[in-house]
């Protein structure tokens, strides 16, 4: 049983959290995530969930309390955005390094300064190496589905790593879209009960969490964490299969849109991939063999699978909604290009940084990217490897 609803991304995310019914939520509000925390705290107040809600005085404390709750054996969640995520920084690493399966919606927003509340991925991209799994969504439906699947991915015994469930600020979080919600009991059955392996509060079997770990064992523990990250891809696919049985909606590591016979393609993540689908459709009508690869699992990065999907293209444009100031392109570009290099694929790869601070990206602008790719194929020349799309100069 599922229900058709029309809700904002934030409302949908708070519904997912209500249905997951975590033991503890510790959170601090920040635009554009505020409505998640606000709505969820109403559920707590109305007795719709069994959650212990901890309003904190900062995101550093929110993540710290979530870590404490998770270490104690609770299923714990929080949510944040932008500078809130930045303030969590040191504790993000403690969560992943302590192998705590926390699930956190991140409503992607530009980092200050200059101060800006709108969407880009500079917040989550900055945290891409923090040991958290990162899932990205095209729309509110996917954000909802990712949140529910994330619980099961994170809590898998072969994984035990926290997950950021990313959703584009305002574009998704504040827009009403129609989608399907699962029945409460189906979500409950799907996520099941969480039984921590070594909970801090099990006084019969006392354990120490977070002790000093020096030259003798720190490296081994990091190695275990790296192995867990290696396991993520398989678990994401297993969970997706199980979720498809429940919801009828198909998920993978990434989505291939008209990629099979494509000659030129775009690789992107987040809400822009929806706009890109329209660009692909328009170009296909005009005989251009255009395709799209929409990344869902960005961390850990499914390099081989993505390279394989792109290997037969003639040219590919990677879209980044974050500037690294490395002068060598955005983070997704670096990963995709390295993956293509490792595969020995003969595909020209270029990078477009777009949409910073919420700058709109229109269908025609994405079409222009495909036109650039066609020109690269035709002339066999790349004039600008890294470009900024939709910016005034």
């Amino acid at each position: 049983m599922s229900e058709q609803v029309a809700l904002t991304g934030n409302e949908v995310m708070s519904q997912a959290m209500r249905q997951i019914n975590p033991d503890v939520v510790a959170a601090y509000p920040i635009t554009p995530q505020t409505a998640i925390v606000q709505t969820f705290s109403q559920f707590v107040n109305d007795g719709d969930v069994d959650t212990e809600f901890v309003p904190t005085e900062s995101e550093h404390s929110a993540m710290s309390a979530t870590v404490g709750a998770s270490a104690s054996g609770a299923r714990a969640m929080t949510a944040t955005a932008a500078n809130g995520l930045a303030l969590m920084w040191e504790v993000l690493y403690i969560a992943s390094g302590t192998r705590l399966p926390i699930v956190m919606p991140v409503v992607n927003r530009a980092l200050s300064g200059p101060i800006n509340i709108h969407c880009d991925h500079s917040d989550a991209m900055g945290a891409r190496d923090s040991g958290w799994i990162q899932l990205y969504a095209e729309n509110a439906q996917e954000a909802y589905d990712n949140a529910i699947q994330a619980v099961k991915i994170s809590e898998n015994k072969d994984v035990m790593l926290p997950t950021m469930v990313n959703m584009d600020g305002f574009i998704i979080s504040h827009a009403v879209e129609n989608l399907n919600l699962l029945a409460d009991e189906d979500v409950q059955d799907f996520v099941g009960e969480y039984h921590a392996e070594n909970p801090l509060l099990d006084s019969e079997n006392p354990v120490t969490v977070g002790p000093l770990d020096l030259q003798d064992f720190y490296f081994e523990h990091k190695m275990q964490q790296a192995v867990a990250a290696e396991n993520v891809k398989d678990v994401v696919l297993e969970v997706a299969e199980e979720y498809e049985e429940l919801s009828g909606r198909e998920y993978g590591l990434f989505e291939e849109y008209k990629l099979d016979d494509a000659e030129v393609a775009v690789v992107a993540l987040g809400s822009t991939t929806g706009t890109a689908k329209t660009a692909v459709d328009n170009l296909r009508e005009n005989g251009v063999k255009a395709g799209l690869s929409k990344i869902r699992l960005y961390r850990p990065f499914p390099a081989e699978e993505i390279a394989e999907a792109l290997a037969d293209l003639e040219a590919v444009a990677v879209m980044d909604r974050a500037e690294t100031f490395s002068t060598t392109g955005g983070p997704v570009f670096a990963d995709v290009r390295a993956a293509l290099y490792d595969m020995g694929a003969d595909v020209e790869a270029v990078n477009y940084i777009y949409g910073l601070g919420g700058r709109d990206l229109k269908v025609e602008e994405i079409e222009s990217v495909y036109k650039d790719l066609e020109e690269i194929v035709e002339t066999n020349t790349v004039e600008d490897r890294v470009q900024h799309l939709g910016v005034r100069e």
Partner: protein
């Protein structure tokens, strides 16, 4: 996406343009259509010109860019005509509905717009039916008449459900808003 209809709402901060777009979206969704409803978030100041949008389609909507060529425009405050180009991007066969005491012909000339122009005194309707000058729900009624986006009976049933949810703690205003929608539907003219 041949079936895609895009709507732009012009209002002033505090007038309920965002709410109107969300109500329209939710009612259209209930009637089985795919929808989006989203405001443009700039600096939010009471009284400043603001925008909100709808996309309504029989097909799945994947677009996540701004609406730049709406075929339907609703203007919640007549003074906006002097400060905002409300015809921007609107195709020549588009429809514009303006909250104004003036008749449609006068506004059409003022806008220098070829398409379909309708006016309704939404402030007057709201004063009569709700007792306060909220133009957003009357404008929904006017929009239904001018565009036929949703069959009016279905729209009324749908909007009642949404108003019941929205005003669960203020049920006395539900009937008044419904009456305002019906009156605007009757009074709007082109």
């Amino acid at each position: 996406m041949a079936s895609l209809t895009e709507v732009r709402w012009h209002g002033r901060g505090g007038q309920g343009g965002k709410t109107a777009s969300i109500l329209l979206g939710k009612v259209a969704a209930k009637s089985g259509k795919n929808i989006q409803a989203f405001p443009e978030y700039g600096p939010e100041r009471m009284g400043a010109p603001v925008l909100a949008y709808n996309r309504i389609s029989e097909d799945e909507i994947t677009l996540h860019c701004q609406v730049t060529e709406p075929s339907i425009v609703a203007v919640l405050d007549p003074t906006l005509l002097d400060v905002v180009d409300i015809t921007e991007g609107v195709p020549a066969d588009g429809t514009i509905v303006v909250n104004s005491k003036e008749d449609a012909k006068t506004i059409k000339e003022k806008l220098d717009f070829e398409g379909d122009v309708w006016t309704v005194d939404a402030y007057g309707v709201a004063e009569k039916e709700i007792g306060r000058p909220f133009p957003n729900t009357p404008m929904l009624g006017g929009l239904m008449k001018a565009t036929g986006l949703i069959e009016f009976d279905k729209f009324l049933a749908g909007i009642e459900t949404e108003l019941e949810k929205k005003f669960a703690h203020k049920p006395e205003v539900i009937e008044k808003n419904l009456a305002a929608i019906k009156r605007a539907y009757q009074e709007v003219a082109n």
